[in-house]
């Protein structure tokens, strides 16, 4: 089996499974409890918090554990607007955000917020000029993702952060779910106020993530209860999952350098291989090395996904097939791709456990499958 859908989720490391399992059995106490077992659980969570903070060049007190990326994004956005809408009702994001940001902005727009959706160019990049021109006295939040989950474009986070230092009223939120641990992030130099991460994207457990919140910045909580995480995220900490996330972080960082080198070579190989085929359009070529997206024009993505599965290669599509309801990729459309291209996008995404064999096998499978299927398609 050649699993190349690592942007959807990753296989947990063995060490992560062992850590989580051990913790479930031994460190089950509530970290808020006053007895020794509780203290032990608290220590475990605090160690993990420090590891996450170190990776971001942040302080442990700036890390809030959440149930994952979706919750972190929701907490960041709702947290800012719920608290500061009296300062202004204008918020900015991009057209290529993940649904857990994009849909929240859509909802806020319905509720009366003025929303600017920054456009992207054909490489999937936003423009700093457009951002600057969009900022008003009413603006309270800018939310831009670091690495795009569908085609891998990397936004100029440091430049955006720098630009926003001139607008002290504006919170800067970054959805870093696809980049955290794979690309170094420094919240200080990048001037980030809020940043979302999720463990299962870097071989950690599902159901755990975190939000970085800059010191002395306040946001409104989504969940009210026992007042954990400084009152910003009530709920008993999932200590075993938190420990698993820290373990995954540690292992991933150690592999990072070779991962980036390898995936760079592999992406280049795959791209070269793809260009020998007909009617292929690459989407976001300049993005991160571990995500590759292409459209096989005329061939709906889900058909290709299933055909590749027959060759034991597992990749992703963004569009669901149905003669009645075709759903083209919103991200590819935003990059100016035609509808026929946006319903045929295929994403190959690599992880820390991806091997050269996976890539060569995938390459062969693409060469086998695409020309065969292309015989039957209408163009």
């Amino acid at each position: 089996m050649h699993y190349l859908d690592n942007s959807a989720t990753t296989k947990p490391y063995k060490a992560v499974i062992e850590t989580v399992s051990w913790m479930f059995e031994h460190t089950y106490a509530n970290p808020a409890s006053l007895h020794g077992l509780g203290f032990q659980a608290e220590q475990t969570a605090e160690d993990a918090r420090k590891k996450l903070a170190d990776e971001l060049h942040a302080k442990p007190s700036e890390i809030i554990f959440t149930s994952g990326g979706t919750e972190a994004n929701n907490l960041a956005i709702h947290g800012v607007v719920n608290r500061y809408q009296n300062r202004g009702k204008h918020i900015i994001t991009s057209t290529i955000e993940h649904d857990s940001v994009y849909e929240v902005f859509q909802k806020l727009e319905q509720e009366g917020f003025a929303v600017t959706y920054l456009s992207v160019d054909e490489n999937g990049m936003i423009s700093l000029e457009e951002l600057q021109a969009s900022l008003t006295n009413e603006t309270i939040l800018v939310s831009v993702m670091h690495v795009n989950n569908e085609m891998g474009a990397v936004q100029p986070i440091a430049e955006i952060g720098h630009l926003l230092t001139g607008y002290p009223k504006v919170f800067f939120h970054v959805d870093a779910v696809q980049s955290f641990t794979k690309i170094p992030i420094d919240v200080q130099t990048m001037k980030i106020d809020l940043l979302s991460v999720s463990a299962h994207k870097f071989h950690g457990p599902k159901g755990i993530g975190a939000l970085y919140l800059r010191k002395n910045k306040q946001i409104a909580p989504l969940l009210i209860g026992g007042g954990q995480e400084m009152g910003i995220r009530s709920g008993t900490l999932a200590v075993p999952l938190i420990a698993g996330m820290a373990k995954a972080l540690e292992i991933t960082i150690a592999k990072r350098e070779s991962f980036l080198q390898n995936t760079h070579i592999w992406k280049t190989e795959l791209l070269t291989s793809l260009t020998s085929l007909k009617r292929i359009r690459i989407n976001g070529e300049k993005g991160v090395p571990y995500i590759l997206n292409f459209s096989c024009v005329g061939l709906k993505s889900e058909v290709l996904v299933r055909a590749l599965e027959d060759e034991t290669v597992f990749v992703s599509s963004k569009s669901a097939c149905s003669s009645k309801k075709e759903s083209p990729s919103r991200v590819l459309l935003a990059m100016g791709r035609k509808r026929s291209e946006a319903i045929s996008g295929i994403r190959i995404s690599m992880g820390m456990l991806t091997t050269a064999t996976d890539i060569s096998h995938c390459q062969k499978a693409l060469q086998n499958v695409i020309p065969t299927l292309q015989q039957w398609i209408k163009v």
Partner: protein, 388 residues
């Protein structure tokens, strides 16, 4: 109410002799199958009447299940008691009070056990006045009562009945032979299957799968629909036919605007072969005249031409809304509308021919190895069995 039996009424008037016996035996078997999860509940027959003996079980969930059994015309819950007039009065009063909001009633009694000392003409007024005495709002209405309390004095005891509920009618499944339903994942074909079951057939179904052009989820839909139909059919056998090669061959060789017609002809050829192999007497389809291009009279003629097996189309004159109503009633609608198609748009022509001719179909098909393709598809069939 603590009902202890349910009386089941069944049978079409025309049934006679051996058919009647067959019908009854099968109906009892089907009811037992439907109620198999209720171990202590028994189904009995006496003097040409069917009873469900409830034991300690409440009647309501069992009456719900009986609503799905074809061959039942109606049923009524009842209480069986000793044939003693005081007990009869009290029970009738309890039944009356168990239907809130009802005030007009009528008592109708039969005395099959002539040993019972009180005559029919006297039983009615005794029970009636007992109810009137105990419920000030109660009123007798012999012409249009809201509740008719039936009392039957029989040798085994006296039965007092509650309200009659209509059953689904039809014939017991398994009394009319076996048929093959062309089952897609859409709204229509499961409804056609339901209506086939209504006339007492044992249902087999055939589905065409075109991996990788159609998804596993589309196939799962058909599996789910088959399972849903067991609610009425007891057991259903599904033949899943690998259809990709035929699709691509049609694509390769035939006129694009004839592709749907030829595809349907190929499906029918395969279905006929399966039907012959498994002794299935007819095909059922969900076609409705004029609904889509492949369901015009010309299309039906061109498609039908490849086979002599009867093709029965219970939806032929129904409107889509009528079909949808039945689909909702039988619980297939929600599954059918899931967005996974049985035939991916890859193979749907821009302009399918609405008036295809047999001559062109035959000419186009000469470009393909029809016999071999059909045999290959039949050999690749995967059989899945479903039961209640």
């Amino acid at each position: 109410m603590n009902w202890n039996v349910i009386l089941i009424r069944y049978g079409e008037l025309s049934l006679k002799g051996r058919n009647q016996k067959l019908f009854e035996d099968r109906l009892i078997r089907n009811i037992r199958e439907k109620l198999k999860d209720y171990e202590s509940v028994r189904v009995t027959r006496e003097h040409g009447r069917l009873f469900v003996e409830l034991g300690e079980h409440p009647a309501e969930p069992i009456m719900e299940l009986l609503k799905d059994v074809f061959g039942i015309v109606s049923f009524s819950p009842a209480i069986r008691i000793n044939s003693q007039i005081e007990e009869m009065e009290q029970t009738a009063a309890n039944i009356f009070s168990s239907y809130p909001g009802i005030s007009t009633f009528k008592v109708e009694s039969r005395r099959a056990d002539k040993r019972f000392p009180i005559r029919t003409g006297e039983i009615n007024p005794r029970i009636g006045s007992y109810i009137l005495d105990h419920f000030p709002h109660a009123k007798v209405d012999v012409h249009h009562p809201e509740l008719e309390i039936k009392v039957e004095v029989r040798i085994k005891g006296t039965y007092i009945y509650g309200k009659e509920t209509a059953g689904v009618g039809g014939l017991p499944v398994g009394t009319s032979g076996k048929v093959l339903l062309m089952l897609s994942g859409g709204i229509d074909s499961p409804v056609a299957g339901y209506l086939a079951l209504k006339r007492g057939v044992e249902l087999h179904a055939i589905h065409f799968h075109s991996h990788p052009f159609t998804s596993e989820r589309a196939k799962q839909k058909v599996l789910d629909l088959s399972q849903t139909l067991t609610r009425f059919g007891g057991k259903i056998r599904l033949y899943v036919v690998p259809f990709t090669h035929i699709q691509t061959e049609i694509r390769k060789h035939c006129y694009e605007n004839y592709s749907i017609t030829i595809m349907r002809r190929m499906m029918l050829r395969i279905a006929e072969k399966v039907a012959k192999q498994y002794d299935l007497k007819a095909l059922f389809t969900g076609e409705s005249l004029g609904q889509v291009a492949s369901q015009t009279l010309e299309s039906l003629q061109a498609i039908n031409d490849v086979t002599t097996i009867p093709i029965l189309r219970p939806l032929i004159s129904m409107d889509k809304t009528e079909i949808m109503q039945i689909a909702k009633k039988i619980g297939t609608y929600e599954t059918s509308i899931l967005p996974y198609e049985d035939c991916c748009t890859v193979f749907v022509p821009e302009q399918p021919k609405t008036k295809p001719t047999i001559k062109v179909c035959e000419r186009e098909e000469q470009k393909m190895e029809v016999e071999e393709l059909v045999s290959e598809a039949v050999e690749g069939i995967e059989i899945v069995d479903f039961h209640l």
